[in-house]
Structure formats: structure tokens, C-alpha cells
Symmetry: C2
Subunit: 493 residues, 2 copies
């Protein structure tokens, strides 16, 4: 709290890193690329987990747990999967250490070498489908609707807190179905769950779409995604839902006896979101004063800061604050009274702004006299004095939190609308990407070659083919070849 954050306009990247650290969300650990998620950051992640878990269960899924390790040979079983995932992995080769000869340290025991190396899971399709083979015999065993909350490891060369870390936390759903249609429906259903969560809880508007072949998950027939726009005009993939076809069923020989008596391969899906969502949440709303949290995910929704000179004043304020807190708690609102005498009110104001507490209530001796409180909104940084005899405090705060949730969403929605630009020529395309940034809606000839060329020239990728894409004849922005609908390009995290 010693000095202000860097400004977004000056160095967005530095602003992000500093915000993550100073707001006690996460920090780098002693292990390269692995982060420590600090208690305050973790409490936000727990709120995300709780809502997502509820939504998964409401749609019929159960949680389970599969091994951290995957035998190396499993990765080779699905041809395109190995290309996408087998490369940058943590590899366990030994299972024992021993004392060094001088007794001062430990060394790897060369005699404890594994026959087959184990990979720390980068994703669990292979180990899960090898298990499903034993769980699925008949159509009666389907659908199998399983989710796992777990840590995964992908050896990243360039890491950033929450956005790209070697180890991260996520959930991965893995379902098995008797028919293609059912698996496609599941894929879309989970995409919708993610979109609902992003919009209603994270207050972050997302575009639902399908990835082009280049950006598809390794082993999927189709990858659906939700794409969000950050304040610096870069896109962020916030969640993916994959229709796996029968690829993993074939790789792991998972067949079922159908109702009709045949023996068929099972259809699969997988879907996941990760602690990357924390990065999205931070970047979507926060400002130069710190974090801005949507009330539905804020660990502390309301903080009450007493302003006092004597212990007697503090006691009176505390008595009043406790009345208010009792009323708010009945409504399920989380409220914290900060009576620490080690910090001044101004310091506390700045701290709760940094930490994104949506609503701050200040109470001083004059407020006690007048039966008022001063209410400050984190999102707009506006203040108002409220007379407690003119309102019901619980209804007032509840309404205010709703308003903040809606306002944050609307602000992000308007920003995205402003930052989504339809372009019809290559010059425009480059100009928007360079100068305005954001989503660029443009015609594309549908080929991987063109997509790669565009990426090479501009660093922009196709974020998705929107599900609500309009049929519209046009010419590819690069090649001029015919296209019948616009896709969304952007530079991305």
C-alpha cells in the first residue's frame, strides 16, 4: 500500500502483475512457473468453484478423482492428442532419493528408475478413457457424466500469474454418451453453463463460438469456446467445451452394447475452465486503484470502516455497526468490520479499494449524531451520505450490490460493443488491430493457410466462429476468396 499501482494506460502488463501481487491474489513461487495462490485470491477462486460446481451438479454431473500421473504410452494412443499435449510435460523418471555420499544433501537414486516414465497430467482424457473402458459395457451405463477438480501441469516457457502457469487448478468434465447427438448437446449445454457463469457471476460478457481447425483441442472434432475481451483490447479464451466424437473411445477401445443389440463406440465430450478465469476477472473490470470485483464473487461484499478519535467513539460506532452487520448477515451478505487501531481510515480505504470490496461504509461521530453513514461504491468510486432513518439498510445494501453487479457487466458489455469492429478490407483489418485493437469481425475464406498467414502478419488469430454468425456473402479480408459469414479475429492472451 506504500505507493500507487502502475497505470493501465502506461503499462498494462506491469499494472496487471503488480495488482495481482499487491491485492494478495497470487505470487510466483520458488518453483519456476508455479504460483502460490494467496488466501484472498483463493477465496475468490472458491466462490467461483462453488457456483460452477452447483451448476455442474444441477446438470446431472458427479465429481470423481483420477490419478495425477499418466503412463507415457497412454499419450501416444490418440494420434492428434499426443501432438498437442505430449511435448511440454513434467516427466517423472524416478521414485526414490538417497543421501549423497557426504551426507549433506539428497540425490536421485539411480537404482529407482521407473520402467515406464509417468507424465504429470496436462489434461486427463487418456487416463479417464482408459478407466471408462471398464465402466461402460452397455447403454445402461450411459450417459456417464463426470467432472474432476484437479491440478494440471503444462511446461510453459513464458508464464504469467493466473493467465499461463506451469501448474494450474481447473475442472475437467469428461462425459460418455450412446449417440452423437447426445454428446453434441452435452458439449453445447456445458458451453452455455460457462457463458452463464461468466456473464451472471463474473459480470463478463462473452462470445460463444466454435474454434477453427487450427485452434481446436488436440483430439476433438469440434471445440466450442467462450471468448472475452480485456480492457487492453486483447481477447481471452475463458472456457472450452469439446465434442470428442469417437476419437478417445477408439483410442481406448471403449464400446457399448446398444439397445438394439449392436456393439458401438462411445461418443465423448470434455470441457474445462481454470484459474485462468481469475486473470480474466481481474483484467475485465479492475482500474488504476486496484481490483474491481462483481459482488457475486467478492469474498467481502461490504466493509465498515469506523472513523474515531477515542475508544469511547469506537465503542459507539461498533455498537451501531453490529446492528447493521446483523441485518446484512440475515440477507446472506458478507460484511467485515475493520476496527484495527494499527491503520488509519485513509489507509484502510485505499486497501479495500485495492482489494475490490464492492461497497464501503464509513461511520464517524457526526454520522452517529445524524444517524447517517457514508457509502462508497468501488466500481464508480462515488460516495453518498445515507440517512438510516430513511432507508432499510439491508434492502438498501442488497439493492446497491445488485446495481453494482449490473453496472459492472454493462460497462464491460458497452466496452466490448465499442471494441468490436466490422472491417471489409485488409487495410482496415490491420489498422483496427494496430490502433483500435479489440475484436475484428471479418470475412475469412475458411482455410487454415489463410488463418496462419493472417497470424504471421498481424499476430491476430480467429478467436471463434460465433454461434450467432449471420449468413452474409463477402470476400475474405486477406485473399478475397468467397466467404459466407464473418468470424472474430483478435490478438489474444
Amino acid at each position: 500500500m506504500s505507493k500507487g499501482l502502475p497505470k493501465r494506460s502506461e503499462d498494462y502488463s506491469l499494472w496487471y502483475n503488480e495488482l495481482v501481487k499487491r491485492a494478495d491474489l497470487a505470487e510466483n513461487s520458488a518453483v519456476r512457473g508455479c504460483m502460490v495462490i494467496k488466501p484472498y485470491g483463493y477465496s475468490i477462486w472458491e466462490k467461483m468453484q462453488a457456483e460452477l460446481d452447483r451448476m455442474f451438479k444441477e446438470t446431472g454431473h458427479s465429481n470423481a478423482y483420477f490419478p495425477l500421473f499418466i503412463p507415457k504410452s497412454f499419450l501416444s494412443k490418440e494420434a492428434s492428442h499426443v501432438e498437442g499435449f505430449a511435448k511440454e510435460c513434467a516427466v517423472v523418471t524416478h521414485y526414490r532419493l538417497k543421501n549423497s555420499e557426504d551426507g549433506k544433501s539428497v540425490i536421485v537414486d539411480p537404482e529407482a528408475k521407473l520402467e515406464e516414465e509417468l507424465i504429470v497430467r496436462p489434461t486427463s482424457e487418456t487416463v479417464i478413457w482408459s478407466t471408462y473402458k471398464n465402466w461402460i459395457q452397455s447403454y445402461r451405463d450411459l450417459p456417464l457424466l463426470v467432472n474432476q477438480w484437479a491440478n494440471v501441469v503444462r511446461w510453459e516457457m513464458r508464464t504469467r500469474l493466473f493467465l499461463r502457469t506451469t501448474e494450474f487448478l481447473w475442472q475437467e468434465g469428461h462425459t460418455a454418451h450412446a449417440t452423437k447427438q447426445e454428446a453434441v448437446d452435452e458439449t453445447v449445454q456445458m458451453l452455455n453453463v460457462y457463458a452463464t457463469f461468466a456473464e451472471q457471476f463474473m459480470a463478463m460478457p462473452v462470445v460463444k463460438g466454435v474454434k477453427s481447425a487450427n485452434e481446436r483441442f488436440a483430439g476433438a472434432e469440434d471445440t466450442y469456446c467462450i471468448e472475452a475481451l480485456m480492457q487492453d483490447g486483447k481477447a481471452l479464451q475463458a472456457g472450452t467445451s469439446h465434442f470428442l466424437g469417437q476419437n478417445f473411445a477408439k483410442a481406448f477401445d471403449v464400446k457399448f452394447a446398444s439397445k438394439e443389440g449392436g456393439l458401438e463406440y462411445v461418443w465423448g465430450t470434455s470441457w474445462g475452465v481454470s484459474t485462468r478465469l481469475m486473470g480474466a476477472l481481474i483484467m475485465a473490470h479492475s482500474d488504476d486503484n486496484g481490483l474491481v470485483l462483481p459482488p457475486k464473487l467478492a469474498p467481502i461484499q461490504v466493509v465498515i470502516v469506523p472513523i474515531y478519535k477515542s475508544d469511547e467513539e469506537l465503542d459507539k460506532i461498533e455498537a451501531k455497526a453490529k446492528e447493521i452487520m446483523a441485518k446484512l448477515k440475515v440477507k446472506g451478505i458478507s460484511v467485515h468490520f475493520d476496527h484495527r487501531d494499527t491503520h488509519k481510515p485513509g489507509w484502510k480505504f485505499a486497501e479495500y479499494e485495492l482489494k475490490g470490496v464492492p461497497l464501503r461504509i464509513a461511520m464517524g461521530p457526526r454520522d452517529l449524531e445524524n444517524n447517517t453513514i457514508e457509502v462508497a461504491r468501488r466500481d464508480t468510486l462515488t460516495k453518498e451520505t445515507v440517512n438510516l432513518s430513511e432507508i432499510e439498510i439491508d434492502a438498501y445494501v442488497e439493492g446497491m450490490l445488485d446495481t453494482i453487479q449490473t453496472t459492472i457487466y454493462q460497462k464491460a458489455f458497452d466496452f466490448r460493443a465499442h471494441m468490436t469492429t466490422e472491417v471489409n478490407s485488409w487495410d482496415e483489418f490491420v489498422d483496427v488491430l494496430e490502433n483500435k485493437t479489440g475484436f475484428v469481425s471479418a470475412h475469412w475464406d475458411g482455410t487454415s493457410e489463410t488463418e496462419e498467414k493472417i497470424k504471421e502478419l498481424t499476430k491476430a488469430t480467429i478467436r471463434c466462429i460465433p454461434l450467432d454468425q449471420k449468413v452474409e456473402n463477402g470476400a475474405c479480408v486477406l485473399t478475397g476468396k468467397p466467404s459466407n459469414g464473418r468470424v472474430l479475429f483478435a490478438r489474444a492472451y
Copy 2:
């Protein structure tokens, strides 16, 4: 469900393994020593987690997340810790795979060798205390009360589902304090949390005690534990809480500026319970028909099975069942109506017995006529016919679930009382361990040598020095040397 379980009296170990698999709790995976926790088993673990997490938060702790990997050198920093933990570990030596020359498989890329090997955490004291060094400067930063839910890996040669697996799930609390007394109080507080959880939720009586030096956690000054007794007369350590003194603070140089202006080493604790509790829960109560679950941890507390011949009958039963379910749900009771037409009622009865559903309600056409239901208790396997006009169904079921919870606990309590034997001679000691089994309460001369000798001769270890140990002069059961209190011996899991 094709055939019955093995009997406990014939082969307890086989009974356990088969029960775990057939009740859909867990199974072995393709990775040696790692289990798959199946959805039904995981839903019990989730209920345990939820209660424990609530209790941790009520005692002021926050969750956080620390890296999966620990640099090899960290393990050597605390001298006794490395002896206890550094040996049987999964070691990551490489971070990349590449295609084999024939392109048919992947091999470890010899060029991607880590400079320093990483250990998959067997426990996280080292990585957490290396982090605490940066979090703690002053007494104002203390106490630091953090918990982590995580997976850990200890390379076990002989594994058993839930009881001893290479990878397991657990929580590990790690706290830092300004004074020794505060750290000791924390250690005892968390022991009490574990004991309360075991007794009130798992319905499993435990002995609270302190470990002898031989059985102490590597790096602790004192290890407190809760010990439970399984139906085969073997003890099971169900949770431990460690007073770490200043050992890890010294190893990682964690000092704080005290209120008085000095610079002092921080005092620490750590405490954990794991998926091993699942094994304890299963073994404490279950019988030859399957699982017996205490209602407070049962994912399904009540199952309603319709008995019908025609669709018309089913419809009528279902209407009645829905009325009952609505009332039970209001009380927060989880109830499942099994209307599957693919299985007969008898098959369903056996299935829910196997899965330990505490209360089963059966309803047939005659019940509809008479306004009755047949209620079967899983714990006692008794049935009664209840007239719905004579009771309030919600209060009746709620009361019955309470009764079952209490009865299961009392049964385990009585069993343990019967199976705890005071002995005063070596012959008695050996005889009880061989023939009666259970806890043996005996005098011990307090030396590690005697404890080791006893273990060698009988396979029994000191489970704990009970916290409620009575001062009583006696002679060590092996050496005859003086002792001033009894300790608990047993063969253990």
C-alpha cells in the same frame, strides 16, 4: 451385485477390498498404487471435506494453494524432515517429450533435463515455509492460519485403496505464531477439531493422544493424533496435528519483529487428514452386506423403492413418494426415488444395502391401500411398517436418522471399550494381541529401544500416550522398569 461379499470373519482384508470396489467407492488405476475415486466414493469425501472446511473456517483459517513441486534442495533444509520424507518420492527430472525416431511413440527428450530435480510434494512444509519467509516480517503478520486442500504423493511399495496409496487427497494446515504457547494451543485445537469431526460426523470414537518419539512426524517437536479401532481389532491413525516448534522457521530463516522490538523465530504447526478417513469410515461400521454410513455423511440418506406390477400402480406410488420427498427435502434430507424398471425391488434392496443408504422406504399397492410404508434401517437391518396417518413423516425420518447416527457411534464405542484391555504382564500382552486383538493399555518404560523391541516381537506399536492418561505407578510390560502411566499399544494399519 451378482454375488455376496466375502465375509469379514473369513477374510477381513478381502472383504474390505471387495466392498470398496463393489460399492463404487474406488478402484485401482492403470498407474501403480494410484486409485480412481469413483463418483459415489467421491461424494462421501465431498461431504467430509465440506464439514471439515467449515470447521477450519470457523476456527479462523483460510485456504490457499501452494505448488505441487518442491525443489529437491528444499527437502534437505530441515534435517529430520529429509530423513522422514525425502526417500520414497516421485522425482521429476525432465520437462519435455519428443517423437521417437520411428514416429510411433514418444520418448523423454534428453535435452530437456532440469538443472535441479523437482519432487512431487509428499507434504508441503518446506515449500510453504519458504513462502512464509516473505509473508512474515512483524508480529502484525501473525498468526498466519492457512490450510490447503491438495493431492500428495508418497511412493508406497504396498498399497491398499484409501488406506495407503501412492497419490492421495488431503488437507494440510500450516500455521505460524508469535509464541510457543499459541502454537501449542493451535496444535491442540486442531486435534480437537479432528476428534469432533470423527465422533460427530463419522460416528467413530477416537482416542486423543501424543505420539512417542518413534512415531513422531519428521520435523515436529510433538505429534498429536486421533486413533480409531477397526472391526478387525487393528488401530488406524485417523489424523495428526504437529507442534513444529521453531524447526521449520530455523530451516527457512523465518523471523519476525516482536512487539518488544526483538527479532525472533516463528513458531509453527501443521495438521492433516486424508482420504485415508474413507478407509476408516468403511472399516469402522460396515458389515457383510456392505457399507454402513452414518447419516451425516451419507450422500443419499433415504431411498424410496416402489414395488409394483403395472404402470398404473407405479404412478400412484410415485405420486405418494413425491409428497414424502417434498417434505423430507424441506428438512434438508437427501432422498432418492428409484423408479428404474430395469431392476427388481430385491436387487435394489441389496444394492442400497451395499451402498450403505441409512434408511430404505418400500411402498407397494397394499401400502397405498393402508396408507403405510415399510421402513428398513441399514445399521440394524430391521424393518417396521409405519402408518402415515399416525406420524409426521419428516419428523419421523429426521428422528430415525438421528437414532441411526447415535446407534452407529454407540456400537463402535462399545466395541472399542470391549476391545481395550489393560494388561500387566508380558504374557498377557502377547496373548491379548494374538487372540483378542484391539488396544492394549500397558505400562512402558518410555524408551525408544523398548518400543522397537516390542514392535519387533509383536508387530504392535505405541498408538499414543492418551491425553487423559492417569498417573499410575507400574512396571514396563517388557522390561519391568518403572513407568508412571499406561500407553496404548496395538497392531495398526
